[in-house]
Amino acid sequence: MEFSPEQLDALKEFTNIGAAHAATTLSQMLQCNIGMSVPEVNIVDVAQVGTILGEEITTMVLFQLLGDIPEGGFLVLHFSDGAAIRTANIMCGMSGTDRPLGEMDQSALLEVGNIMISSFLGATSDLLGIMMLPSPPFLAIDIAHAIIESLIAQRGLDVDDVIVLQVRLASDDSTISGNILIFLDEPTLRRISQILESLLSPPPIP
């Protein structure tokens, strides 16, 4: 699977715009400043998926991409160690981090994920002029690799390379941090980069 530098830039820009909106909504919900990294686009051999995320037990909120690109891929909000419970605490007005995620915590995380990813897709839909919507959220607490691997296999597509768009989010004091990971199939990625390229390129001289 090969993409030109221009196409990769377009995909980074897509991630950048979406993640900026998602980070802003998270800032508002948690009432603290959330910063984000420069987006990365990585093309990983399927055998090396473990290098994205490995054996650690993680909390993730998963979404299927719906709308004009049905079943085009998945969006994942990944909480770093301890960030899930701290986020749930802020949302529910609770304290103490030494407990498993209860029903209230889980529902708070689903809602945080839902608002963030809806905001991501809202902003990028406006930009691209196509409608992209998230499926209802699904919370997974499991071995990171097992979740990611199952998402890839779930597509039922026989791919040797996986493209992952990734951006890291962190609060100023680093107590809340995580990643937005986006797994889209190749036709969807090409379509997004194509629309963006034509938006970014100067109009032809008449």
Partner: protein
């Protein structure tokens, strides 16, 4: 014979290893860790299988149930194992996201395909730990007679 310090080979999606070293697949979700081992020798193989059917593709044979079974047997034959002393253990095939549309039940289909292809080659399944909704990490050490240790996300550990 490998000592306890022999490095563990990590087998990623669609990969395999055959030999004497300990081998491991980290975070099996709907994928399957197929162990085929020699009942008489400290030799065995592990494939990290992702999909049930290769649909005729020949590259990455360890990625598909149909090609992986035959391929592991061939690799073990080349290392000097007789097909009649081989036995199998299957781990994985969880169904993690029943909620999503287009759920293809890949985990379950992987398990069925592997059972079918093992039967075709008359390789008995000695034990399995399949299905469920949680991921697994498995370690197999040929020096320990086909013992496979399994660790799940909820902290359960078991040996099959």
């Amino acid at each position: 014979m490998p000592g306890p310090d022999e490095p563990t080979v990590i087998v990623g999606i669609g990969e395999f290893y055959a030999g004497r070293n300990p081998m491991s697949s980290i975070g099996l979700g709907s994928c399957i860790g197929l162990v085929i081992y020699d009942k008489d020798k400290p030799l065995g193989a592990l494939a990290h299988i992702m999909l049930p059917d290769s649909q005729g593709r020949s590259e990455r044979p360890a990625k598909y149930a149909d090609t992986a079974v035959k391929f592991l047997v061939k690799e073990l034959n080349m290392l000097g194992c007789r097909s009649s002393s081989l036995a199998a253990k299957i781990c994985g095939g969880a169904s993690m996201f029943q909620a999503f549309s287009g759920n293809l039940n890949i985990g379950e289909r992987n398990v069925e395909a592997i059972r079918f292809h093992l039967k075709e080659l008359n390789i008995p399944i000695i034990a399995e730990d399949v299905g469920g909704i949680v991921g697994r990490t498995i370690v197999y050490n040929p020096a320990e007679n086909g013992k496979v240790s399994i660790k799940t996300a909820d902290g359960t550990k078991k040996i099959i």
